[in-house]
Symmetry: C2
Subunit: 230 residues, 2 copies
Amino acid sequence: MSAARAVVLLSGGLDSTTLLAIARAEHRECFSLSLDYGQRHRAELEAARMISTRLGAAEHKELKLDFGQIGGSALTDPALEIPLERTPGIPVTYVPARNTVLLGLALAWAEVLQANEIYIGVNAIDYSGYPDCRPEFVAAFETVARLGTKAGVSKGSFQIRTPLIAWSKVEIILRGVALGIDYGMTVSCYQADADGRACGLCDACFFRREGFAAAGIVDPTRYQGVVANK
Amino acid sequence: MSAARAVVLLSGGLDSTTLLAIARAEHRECFSLSLDYGQRHRAELEAARMISTRLGAAEHKELKLDFGQIGGSALTDPALEIPLERTPGIPVTYVPARNTVLLGLALAWAEVLQANEIYIGVNAIDYSGYPDCRPEFVAAFETVARLGTKAGVSKGSFQIRTPLIAWSKVEIILRGVALGIDYGMTVSCYQADADGRACGLCDACFFRREGFAAAGIVDPTRYQGVVANK
């Protein structure tokens, strides 16, 4: 039984929700993990909890880590503004070493669960400015997981699954729709309101909007009043 | 200046205190990081803060992470007893994937500081049962750090320094004494009291006691009354 267990990193956004649906479709017993890292809003975390139940995860865990203390990201540092325009290079919404931290925490839980798989929704296309979204980074972490855990050592392997890594936003959305996901329950926006309604203006909203348009799918995102008709 | 910056993982125990003294002797501008992972006592964390100041770190940070939620270790799970005898294999005081998590958090701070070195006091001898204390694990994490951070990518390198990795407890103590450390301010015990006095009975106390005895150094540890004369 433990061979089919997997920890799934679930933010509550579009990508990680699709990821969880894929892991379930791949017959994994899923343990979804969200990180409360001092996001500006809790709507995403609440979405993650609901999505976990709806998609049939065995257990959901929310871990609190005060990432704001480390600083360096507009997502956790109130002194930095969320940009409303696309700019070249690594965006200020980048959370330092985020995927290393997320994978490390997932690995800790995987070890307790005797799972030797982690699913993470990294994507090398939309976020090509982030060094920790590349296949070579994922491969390096897989080695860390294999060498640094009891399960990895005894089984001689540990898999980091990244099914979305080479997909466009359109491909992700189409796969999710095929798996029956209601994307209305997901929250991608960096500055959603308390009800989980999106701003429609930030990077995350931009990519998501574009994705639905290009996929020819009606955008089910709930937008805040003022931008609803933009 | 940033080339000489290093994040130093500091628990407040004997090994990591020696580590910080070594990093300082190697002329690094040190940023010490402690993890409040739900230890049974705060004495170790308070020791870390004091040691950081005494040894001249540029800044000290204490990050809170509720590791108890993940479970699996006697150090964070009140349902598990701290063993008072040595047993073969991986001890129940092992915190799952601990060094991966610690290194991940240190990496996040290193990225904000534009440091590309982390010092960690892993030791492959005393703790040979822990898979994440081995040189091959450290090398694998170094690759993760190089590939997964802006600094690592732009500089093409990132160093994880482990000066203690092959040293016996005696060698660590002798080096620390040579560097002028007052080990009376360090706390190693898994169940120290509120004043930082050690139980004298747990694994950590055992190795420490043995170390001072073998080094021929008077043990400066402050023990709790009942075991002081054992």
